[in-house]
Amino acid sequence: MKHNQPVYTDNDPQNELVTLNLGPTHPATHGVFQNVLQLDGERIVSGVSTIGYIHRAFEKIAEHRPFYQITPLTDRLNYCSSPINNMGWHMTVEKLLNIQIPKRVDYLRVIIMELARISDHIICNTIIAQDTGATTTFLYLFQFREHIYEIYEEVCGARLTTNVGRIGGLERDFNEIAFAKINKFLKEFPIALREFESLLNRNRIFIDRTAGVAEVTQENALSFGWTGPLLRATGVDYDVRISEPYSSYQDFDFEIPVGTSGDIYDRFLVRNEEMWQSLRIIEQALDKIKLEPKGIFHADVPEFYLPGKEEVYNNMEALIYHFKIVMGEIDAPKAEVYHAVEGGNGELGFYLINDGGRTPYRLHFRRPSFINYSMFAKMSEGMLLSDAIINMSSMNIIAGELDA
């Protein structure tokens, strides 16, 4: 097997630098990326990142699948917050087809997207804590991620790769149990989150490990294309939910937390605060749903919305539409559309070119992890090895999204 990259050659006997191959299966990297680092003692002199170890050719597959079959692919992009990806994709197609979504559906979507954001941030923040040596918090907050999964299960039947929703709305309404579970979560999670914060936010060891480490300037962050919590930690208040509201985010009252120096501590705090804001949004959404007419969970667009099986078997029209949608005989405009949503890691964009065929002509995902990660090797220069590890965890690089 040929080695992948031309990295460092240690032929010089006088060379005092050590070459360390970190990854692709190193337990500290939480994912499959390889970084070949040159170390001077504990300090990193330079590094080369290699990625692509789980490249799965999403974009190529997408060219061979009808629209509704692309949802499962989006699940597997950022699998820590798959509902956001699902919804992002549905909204892209809805934008292409000019479908108006009823408010109630928008709010239901907001609930599930914010739950996804919370579960994403739980992973990232507890992993930062874990990597600085605090295993307790990891085990503790993970319990609540499990509760979020239970809500997903009520809504769509799956835990991780949710495949939730359809083009034109949701596949089914939230049931009573789902609402009950959401309410229970809203009651219990704040207590745990407060405890989590009180364990870490003013913890001497934690602050020493994270504050002032891996600081990033705003110019650098923007130039490297950072978005999401990472960019906000540097002080740029860019959030797609505010700048280009989708799914009725303009109806909600919430704040965008920003940091100042972009260091790991700021990123941690920004993510924590975002969880609080997400909780606020969910509460508002629950209130708003009560004011909307009951039982609406999809737009009235029979030619695009895949009907339920029961309908298909008992109703001629539904059968025809089902056939048309599955066989790809729907009339989608020949156009190109870019739609962005605020994913767990930043701006998740879908660039769709449709040529009127059964499948997209081209679908490109703007994947925040991929773009955020390009700075890692550069950032690590001059950093301590142990700091680089927490830096990587705080960037929350999800291998599925990184490699597509």
């Binding site: 040929k2 992948n4 990259q5 990625i51 692509g52 490249h55 050719a57 974009e59 190529k60 597959i61 060219e63 061979h64 934008k95 292409l96 650098n220 923007l222 130039s223 490297f224 294309g225 740029v236 860019y238 700048s243 280009e244 156009a335 190109e336 559309v337 870019y338 962005a340 701006e347 964009g349 660039y351 070119i353 002509y361 081209r362 490109h364 703007r366 991929f370 773009i371 990660y373 390009s374 700075m375 550069k378 490699d403 597509a404």
Partner: protein, 166 residues
């Protein structure tokens, strides 16, 4: 700051570049235009810094292959966070010699985006500091997103066409 409108951008660009920008459309409100490949860096740097509507953020670079026209289009998405608008810039290249100057001199993020585009489409970005494959294996030999290449691994032996009705 109020959002800038597409007309303002068209005016701004029309004044500066005139005929060098063509195919101006606005699909779903996103201003789209094309330019020639030798002008692309001038246009991008003007967009990035013009003092009026600065598109300081490079959202994405990708490419699209049009085999029937023998073309590969390189697509840039730019975003002005302050003015809250996006633009899309396309450059059509000949598929036999897809070369274009690199934008990594303007934005660092272009580095990996261009490597990805090179990996998938074989577009050569001239002046790129480190144009290697990024996602695929070095010895793959082809640029897999080009339309002529199949999705499935052609070397598979266990998948007989007769079972799939082909």
């Amino acid at each position: 700051m109020a959002k800038a409108t597409n007309t303002e951008i068209i005016d701004l660009l029309g004044e500066k570049f005139g005929e060098q920008l063509f195919d101006v459309t606005e699909p779903y409100g996103l201003l789209t235009f094309s330019t020639h490949k030798d002008k692309v860096i001038t246009v991008l740097s003007f967009l990035k810094e013009n003092g009026k509507i600065d598109f300081n953020f490079l959202t994405d670079i990708t490419a699209v292959h049009y085999p029937e026209k023998n073309q590969i289009a390189v697509v840039y998405h730019l975003h002005s966070m302050v003015s809250g608008v996006r633009v899309r810039l396309k450059v059509f290249l000949n598929e036999n010699h897809p070369t274009i100057p690199t934008a990594s001199t303007l934005w660092n993020s272009a580095n990996w985006m261009e490597r990805e585009t090179y990996d998938f489409f074989g577009v050569k970005f001239e002046g790129h500091p480190d144009l290697r494959r990024i996602l695929n294996m070095d010895d793959l030999g082809v640029h897999p997103m080009l339309k002529q290449y199949p999705l499935e691994d052609p070397n598979r032996v266990d998948k007989k066409d007769e079972y799939f009705g082909r």
